[in-house]
Symmetry: D2
Subunit: 400 residues, 4 copies
């Protein structure tokens, strides 16, 4: 029953969520040392989570003799530098999203890790929410038939830290911050082996006085014909809206991860305290979630990562997945400029081929059946197409 | 307390909904004569709704001496012919959606009506649902600030009559059938005076063996910068999904018109009967609406139309609106082919100009305020941008 | 197409709702004269609703030569006096809920009306909400099997007018104000012919400095064995909570009439205006309904009443129903004092007899089948009872 | 980072849920030996969960030299026997709900454990759901003011194993099976120190051919004046309905733990597999939860229990709590027979005293303020009571 002993890089909100998860419930894993660029923030974090050591020396943190995994929870522009050091140290590395600021940076990171032969995991928590995992199992089991469309939406009023707003440090705006989640959720539902072919994206900066996009909508076309639709915003009002919708030839899935999860509270005020991430108010109708780190996928994510390390297998979310997400975001940014569909450019596709979704038309007396409808009297109405003339007709037949 | 006496053209599902509305509750209005191409369907309709006369002579129905309004509930390809006859007869005409199969056809219809000087109303029921009317009032009252984005979604498993599936008779597939609703809902929320500039649209035929699209997603860019997003499908599973979402700089509105309206029923079976339009099952969890013709807007729509006729004013939904919707759909179809943004081409724009939405940045000691966050200890954290360097920084200040 | 011409007695909130309904949409009915005890309120009401006359003379209003229906929208303690005058005038009378302050008073009113031979209608709007009407049709059609339990809940932060708080004028507190709705909703779902036998009720005054109950919970046992459960409160926070739940042997119905109807709005403030009856806030997450007079049942209620008058039949809600409701409330108040089940005392039961609900036990090889469960491998597990020993056992059998 | 090594008694559904939790995610705890009365079920369980040993010797399992905690997941009638053996062995014992079949049995169990001086924990999972824990923290923080009413509802179509249906083995029907959950949830929300004074309960056997109740509703009156309301049923249709509602003087909480948690799936069929505990169908609209053992509270429950053992403190749910729950259920069963309120008889109350909830009436010019209402014009309407005459009046004053 050995646990992991972890080097944590970074002390921001994501570091808190990660450590709350790693130290939570009956976990056997522990953060052993935390690195921060600021000695003060490192010390505060160390005390907050009862971590033995903090340091401002990233290399020392990574090479700490007692740790066997490194978690990168740093701002985007520091991922590459950190992962190079981890690769040199030969330890498994788990990196927060997005992997890089661009596909090119993500590819270099991937190369570094693969050449070093170390384990790499992509910390895409929203692909691990309990609802998502169960929905993915249902989809793989055929519950919705062929997936035709996935909508993934992540919007809130904007990030909590200054560096998030600086595209030079992050690689962009709301797409790079939030779109990476949506894109990988979409990929899971259409199937990771389903190649993303091209992207159409619209971006705009409508509210905040910044250079990067605070709103974006994108469409991703996959090889099967499925469409992924991501909607991201830093200007949403009312909390944090995390919803996914999946349409298939035989079914539908709707998931609300955060604002409507069966927990509703009205308070006339008087009490105070933390409601939920990005909640806007402390009075009136509030919609908390039960256990945030569970609902947001952090628990199942680290379970998969650590089991994968221990079992010598790949995790559900790999650094190659992170690279593909970056490549799709690059195409989205290109499309927002060119105002056309832009191809997803991948140095290598590891997913195989996916045939175009198709259904064999059913025939009725030589005519193509478009639809069957049950009439109140028990008979069926067929809507039929004459393949020769292209004409459509209704025909009522005996019941099923 | 005079009522309207109506010529009803058409005996399909829409004719039933219209007549159920016109004859419903304590209405003072009545259908006097109904026209159908089929004598049998005309007679059945007449008996179903206790209408004095039915006929297969469209001209006679329109010119009937006792009627003072004509309602066009015919398949799309018959709108122009019918409206020309009404114009000649000099009666007010109310036409179901879409107005034409193309903008060109819609423009000719509009010309005909305007030259004849008759009253014209566009029967776009979903712009009149009670929720929509109340939400529009809230938006106009400033409840959500500037509208940044409107999503309107209408999807179901496909229409009930053969002619709907024949693009030659309708002008297209799911866009022409369902998108026309979404587009006009969007226009109402962004403001009808807000010019639609261009459209990006993706269409595909994924499930049904037909020539036209059974799925489409489109983006409409308006002069203010607002984006309208329509999602239509003839392959949705689970009933009829009618939802609208509005995002604004100061608020959010979510409306579900049909599948989740506070009415949930589980039945193990045994009973039977009509559940709701496009419901797929008669067992398990079902989600009926209370009063369909009310919830779908038919009641408020005819109230507005008849009051407008009586008061000599324009209705909320005019034939010019119908024309604009056709023009946006034309652009959507062009875009689906060109795979680029396509301009919305209007022979005339009657809506004036709308400035780009804008917020004056707030300054704090010469720095631009990006965001204010309340900390648990009552202090505020400001995220600031240095306009000179473009750098972002956090600064904690005393509480408000 | 003749309409009703109405004498409206009372100018409070309920008078407004009634008149908004009567004058709404394409109604052919009109209020001709309004009576108020206050000349000022009468004039304001008259102007608000474009009514030709107002008066402070109740008798004159009732006997007005141009009206053919009288609507009683007065405080409870004035119902009897008003209805005596209407009976004398020989006009149809529609009386708001509750009919009387006690069953005795209600019985006298009923006598008066029946002796005069006039039409009497009980204006119980919440039995006419569109959802309720559709649910009642489903229940009658067998969708939920035998009804075992009905929960009806009506709670809000307390009434808007002073007289409501004075039990001498009303007959009680939250039960007389709100419980009357719940009780009649319950009666509709268990079947109006299903005799209410006895009541257990708990009341308390927990928040407001008044002599009557501001909270109550009651159970009603019906002849079939079904239980009705009403929950009323004048201390609920968060708006007006109107929910009904029906359990049956084969199904379940859940209805939310007011707070969660598929319309959700977040506003950061800035706008203002009426949100909904009893809404507590103007900011944050708000939950309006579409068309209040429709959702609360007023439209269908007057349609039924006026059609009943015109067709010479009884309405869905009669004054006898109002009397039964009063009798059940009397039993509830007695029970709250005696702390025991109290019989429902009726001077006359007009509903016939209802057998105890029962199911014939299914047998399997001489054992009683308690439950069948489908196992994942397709086999069935039976839970069986040996009628001789009273022992229970599991047995797995081949699939269906 | 030492974990617990566990003796698991019982291999039913609850044993599966417990072991799934104990072995789940990154847990450091493990089941070492499992006891079953049936060798076959023991072996299957051992293999299912990779447990080193199974045995049909309960004493040997309890005294196993390598285990340091015993979990009792046996049918109710075996709890006392098992706990006596654990007490003799001197190990910490965690017992599933209900503690006993009667308060007398529960008291003997409590005595045994307290005399032996061992740690005792009451495995009441539904008091540990993440939503419940967060809601309890909000209530304790004052978010809803004084709690006036708690409704806890647990209903489903009936248990999965034969012994549950035999009141001789369990102590009763739906109350003993499900009511124990509701009662302890209620106690948590009104405050565990708030003494339960008396109970009114109605039971009936409406559907299943059994001797015990398949439906029950109960009211519990607490010392503060708060009312707890439990609703239990073995005849609910549509899945498992687990909802709690809390009303307070300043707020409201609604929780849905199972059927409406933001996860909705429609499937036309074709796929199959486990949907959720007590789900009734595999087609149509389904409502799974994300992670059942998390949502039902098992994870947080064992975390609290094991931390309590390790920290030498009492857990949130103690065996004394289990005893109080049994005492309340005894009173409920007595009340169902006597048809009166019955006192809750406790051999000892360990909770102290709770004053009656009270609010000081606000005065306005010598009159008692009943309610303040904001008028659309910004003024306030006061509803006032004259304490001398008992009369109520409205008065409009300037805005706040």
């Amino acid at each position: 029953m050995t646990g992991r002993t972890i080097t944590m890089l970074g002390t921001g909100l994501i570091g808190d969520f990660y450590t709350m998860t790693l130290h939570g419930q009956r976990s056997r894993d522990r953060v052993r040392v935390v690195y921060s660029r600021s000695e003060e923030r490192g010390r505060a974090f160390r005390e907050r989570w009862a971590i033995p050591e903090s340091t401002t020396d990233m290399k020392a943190a990574i090479e700490h003799p007692d740790t066997d995994v490194v978690v990168v929870g740093l701002p985007n522009f520091l991922h590459e530098e950190a992962i190079e050091l981890v690769a040199a140290a030969g330890k498994p590395v788990l990196c927060t999203k997005p992997l890089g600021r661009t596909a090119e940076e993500a590819r270099r990171i991937l190369d570094t890790v693969e050449k070093a032969g170390i384990f790499g995991g992509y910390l895409e928590d929203l692909c691990y929410t309990p609802k998502t995992l169960k929905a993915l199992a249902a989809v793989r089991g055929g519950a919705v038939g062929d997936v035709t469309w996935v909508r993934s939406r992540e919007t809130h009023p904007g990030p909590h830290s200054a560096w998030f707003w600086d595209g030079r440090l992050t690689g962009g705006g709301a797409i790079i911050d939030l779109g990476c989640h949506c894109i990988e959720i979409i990929r899971n539902f259409v199937g990771k082996g389903n190649r993303p072919l091209e992207v159409m994206c619209h971006t705009d900066t409508l509210v905040h006085p910044i250079a990067d996009e605070d709103n974006a909508i994108g469409l991703i076309r996959f090889e099967s014909g499925a469409i992924g639709q991501f909607e991201v915003s830093w200007t949403f009002r009312g909390g944090m809206d995390l919803r996914d919708e999946i349409a298939g030839t035989h079914g539908t899935i709707w998931m609300d991860h955060f604002l409507r999860t069966g927990f509703e509270m009205f308070t006339a005020g008087g009490a105070s305290g933390y409601v939920a991430e990005k909640a806007e108010t402390e009075k009136g109708w509030l919609f908390p979630v039960g256990d945030e780190v569970a609902e947001l996928g952090y628990i199942d994510m680290f379970t998969d990562m650590f089991r994968a390390i221990e079992e010598g297998r790949a995790p559900q979310e790999t650094l190659y997945d992170g690279y593909v997400v970056n490549a799709i975001m690059d195409a989205a940014y290109r499309s927002a400029k060119s105002r056309q569909w832009e191809p997803v450019e991948l140095f290598e596709w590891r997913g195989g081929e996916t045939p175009r979704m198709a259904t064999d038309p059913e025939l009725h007396e030589g005519l193509v059946v478009i639809k069957r409808e049950l009439l109140p009297d028990g008979r069926q109405k067929l809507i039929l197409k004459d393949p020769a003339s292209g004409d459509f007709l209704d025909r009522v037949v005996a019941g099923s």
